[in-house]
């Protein structure tokens, strides 16, 4: 076996394996990537029912309802980004850090009767806001980090973009 044929085998093996890896990744990228959406995006353009998305926003204060289907506990609550609210239905134990009026990320699919979550995450950083929710807030013009801490959850549910602009008048909407 010459050096050349040996190298040919090596190249074939490398191309085959890395090609397979690339193909698998491209396939998975087209079907298994989870996008982050805000309630207003869901309302204006609902994702297809078989598509898993991460819905992030604030839990509307006073919207949490617990019920039971047989022995299965079900929680319903509304998630808002200040412009639209989406009802989330979740079967299971809400995480320890889940609180009304605070931010949450629900992973699941959009159904005709609302958002059906398979997982609810309430991981907080020091500002009690997941990074994604904070980003969405900034993008919607609700909060500009240069002008202090995020708005309190109570004002949040009712606040409009105009209110937010009133609070921070001279701010151009570009993130720092």
């Amino acid at each position: 076996m010459t050096r050349k044929t040996r190298r040919l085998w090596l190249v074939i093996a490398c191309v085959a394996c890395l090609g397979a890896a690339a193909a698998l990744m491209l396939k998975a990228f087209s079907s298994d990537i989870v996008f982050f959406v805000t309630p207003s995006q869901v309302v204006s353009k609902p994702p297809p029912a078989d598509r898993t998305v991460r819905l992030g926003g604030m839990v509307v204060a006073g919207s949490v309802k617990r019920e039971k289907n047989g022995e299965t506990p079900i929680a319903r609550f509304e998630v808002t980004d200040g412009q639209a609210a989406v009802t989330v239905r979740y079967e299971g134990i809400l995480p320890d850090l889940f609180r009304e009026g605070q931010s949450v990320v629900a992973v699941g699919t959009m159904r005709p009767d609302g958002f059906s979550a398979s997982e609810v995450l309430a991981k907080h950083d020091e500002t009690y806001m997941p990074k994604e929710v904070a980003e969405a807030l900034k993008k919607s013009g609700k909060w500009d980090p240069r002008f202090g801490p995020p708005p309190s959850a109570e004002s949040w549910n009712t606040m409009t973009v105009q209110d937010a602009k009133k609070n921070a008048p001279a701010a151009p909407a570009t993130p720092p």
Binding site: M1, T2, R3, R6, W9, L10, A13, C14, C17, L18, A20, A21, L24, M25, K27, A28, F29, S31, D32, I33, V34, F35, F36, T52, R54, R66, K68, E71, T72, P73, E91, G92, I93, L94, D96, K131, E132, A134, E135, A136, P176
Partner: protein, 661 residues
């Protein structure tokens, strides 16, 4: 005595010694000046000692509740148990950087102390590279994350530690994991030294391999410990979440596994030299970027970067120097390394090359999946996440062929082999695998779990067959087999055991895909049925703890009427931090775990109902048991050195390092 100022001074001293250690031996090796080269071991030992003093000072400050030290005030409290006062030292950024530097210092000292049979120039260069890297990180520690900074006025009490982190599993996980990460600095230093010398030969492979295997053992244990921690603390019944922090440890493990295999080819056949050097550089680079980029959250959020720009820029600069510099040196010097021996595609070398290609493909997939979301959000401002479905769909199909080839790879002869005779020897493994496929197809749902069960059995039986074939078990008198087994190098047993460990882990993972769970909201006295067990909620009580109050449930589990276990899952509310944690109750019989979680209390006080989450996890302990078996295999193969190299002075200490895993 052990004041924070002494610690700070010792850290600065260590930094200066490390800088000297990084420069002087290189000059000495270049000029072939033996006296200058002989400075290296002393400097390395001195640096290690200074760091040990510095670390002892930080522990002393934490144990004696010296809240004038900012790091202690921010992370400790008087009421914290002593164990967590000590382990809490490395539970925060500043302390963990110091621990990182200390372990790197210990690695340098280990090379200095145990590398006496290395050529003087090579040892000087290896120690110099370790010193240079250490100097960079100690400077980082001193300038941007000083663990000894004082606060004035000193608070009366510290802010305390997240209750979730007050757990023995998490207390010992970081040092073991870091030893794995940092341990790969030694193969890296060997690679750089070899590039500077322009020489890689079989002896180099022999010297570098034990260090790589020792680091690999620690990394394997560290990853398994972390996974076990998330399984029993987080209370979700999950063991691996594919989040960036976990992937950051998996990526160097994959390249490190490739490294310990390709180094065999360098050692035995002087092949794959350039590739092995590149793998050594890549593994340490991934360790570095893993610990510092992903863990510090720099890549994950631009926000964290903006919070402390100095820290982020320093780290990025340091990584650029270490990784970029070593890759530039590689590009400059690698062509001068001579190519190795020839081999046919079907041979032991061929199998090891295939192992490397597949491991690197898996690694490429994990890297892409981990880096894609942060880059998408940085470049295109789109928030996406890549989770379990993505990694399952991409890594498992690549891992399955790897597992199949793993079965007969170790049985192939070097240079040129025939596939058929090897496969003939594996007839028993093939039959048992076919039976396993049949059983799995009957009892397990899903194509990938069935395939995984089959290949797991294949790996285990093939590894056992490898040994029984070598000792000619049942084909000659037992005494003869025993004699042959005693003559067999221990690394052969190490390989077989480590491979069987992979099989055990894969079997556990495949079985865990069949886990069942149930979430119910029930009053006291209800019986639930899950996986053939009857779970009865007997009572729920309030119980006070040292700094929390707990709600403790009593669940009786019966199987066909016979009592299996009584579980006490609880929910703790910490008074100080307004936080609750969930204490899982797990009953294991090594074949399956019964896993109970207590959730919220609902309903009126007169007729309360409780949310319960019950899991049945088949073969769950096997996932971590397999990792332990892998590490044992690694240690066994380390202990083989004294026979093969004929260098007892060096072999003994290295096996001791591995033995601590």
């Amino acid at each position: 005595m052990l004041s924070p100022e002494l610690g700070h001074y010792a850290l600065a001293l260590a930094c200066i010694l490390a800088a000297a250690q990084g420069i002087l031996p290189l000059i000495g090796a270049h000029r072939r000046d033996r006296r200058v080269m002989m400075l290296a071991p002393g400097l390395a030992l001195g640096q290690c000692f200074a760091l040990a003093v510095s670390f002892a000072c930080l522990i002393y400050a934490a144990v004696t509740d010296d809240f004038s030290v900012q790091n202690v005030a921010a992370n400790s409290a008087v009421s914290k148990p002593l164990l967590y006062k000590i382990t809490g030292v490395w539970g925060n950024h500043e302390g963990s950087v110091l621990l990182w530097a200390l372990i790197l210092g210990i690695c340098g000292a280990a090379v200095a102390a145990f590398g006496r049979n290395l050529p003087t120039a090579l040892r000087a260069r290896v120690i110099a590279v370790l010193g240079g890297v250490a100097a960079g990180f100690e400077l980082f520690c001193l300038t941007t994350s000083d663990p000894f900074a004082r606060v004035w006025p000193a608070p009366m009490d510290g802010q305390g530690m997240n209750p979730l982190l007050q757990d023995p599993g998490l207390a010992f996980h970081p040092p073991i994991l870091y030893t794995g990460y940092v341990g790969f600095a030694v193969p890296f230093a060997f690679a750089i030294a070899a590039l500077i010398e322009g020489r890689v030969d079989a002896a180099w492979g022999r010297w570098v391999r034990p260090w790589a295997v020792a680091a690999w053992c620690f990394l394997t244990c560290g990853i398994a410990l972390g996974s076990w921690w998330s399984y029993y603390v987080l209370g979700w019944g999950g063991y691996w979440f594919w989040d960036p922090v976990e992937n950051a440890s998996l990526i160097p493990w994959l390249t490190g596994t490739a490294l310990i295999h390709s180094a065999i080819v360098v050692e035995k056949r002087e092949g794959l030299k350039i590739w092995t050097v590149l793998l050594a550089i890549a593994t340490f680079s991934f360790s570095l970027s893993g610990t510092f980029l992903v863990r510090s959250g720099i890549l994950n959020s631009v926000h964290a970067f903006a919070n402390d720009p100095a820290r982020g820029i320093f780290i990025l600069g340091l990584l650029a120097v270490v990784i970029g510099g070593s890759l530039a040196l590689f590009a400059y010097r690698a062509p001068s390394l001579t190519a190795g021996g020839l081999f046919a595609p079907i041979s032991r070398e061929g199998a090891l090359v295939l192992n490397n290609i597949l491991l690197c493909s898996i690694c490429a997939v994990v890297v892409t999946g981990t880096m894609y979301p942060p880059f998408m959000s940085l470049l295109f401002d789109r928030t996406i996440s890549v989770g379990k479905p993505f990694f399952d769909a991409t890594t498992i199909p690549l891992a399955l062929p790897l597992f199949v080839f793993m079965g007969f790879g170790p049985m192939l002869p070097w240079k040129r082999a025939q596939l058929w005779p090897v496969l003939q020897r594996l007839w028993l493994a093939a039959i048992l695998t076919a039976i396993a496929f049949g059983v799995a197809a009957y009892g397990v749902s899903g194509l990938l779990p069935v395939l995984s069960c089959g290949v797991a059995v294949w790996i285990i039986i093939a590894s056992v067959t490898d040994i029984t074939e070598r000792v000619k078990l049942f084909r000659m008198p037992l005494a003869g087999s025993w004699q042959r087994a005693r003559m067999l190098p221990r690394s052969i047993f190490g390989t077989a055991i480590a491979h069987a460990g992979v099989g055990i882990t894969v079997l556990g993972l495949a079985a865990m895909s069949q886990a069942q769970h149930k979430i119910v909201e029930v009053p006291v006295g209800t019986t639930e049925h899950l996986a053939g067990y009857d779970w009865t909620l007997q009572k729920v009580e309030q119980a006070p703890g040292p700094n929390y109050t707990a709600m403790v449930a009593t669940i009786e589990v019966r199987h066909n009427g016979a009592l299996v276990t009584v579980m006490h899952p609880s929910k703790r509310s910490f008074n100080s931090q307004n936080q609750t944690t969930t204490e899982v109750s797990i009953h294991t019989n090594l074949l399956s775990d019964l896993y109970g979680v207590l959730g919220d209390k609902h309903g009126t006080d007169a007729a309360p109902t409780y949310v319960l989450r019950l899991h049945y996890n088949p073969l769950a302990p096997w996932m971590w048991l397999g990792a332990l078996v892998m590490a044992i295999g690694g240690v066994l193969s380390l202990s083989d050195r004294r026979m093969r190299v004929g260098a007892p002075r060096r072999a003994k200490p290295i096996s001791e390092i591995g033995g601590a895993a």
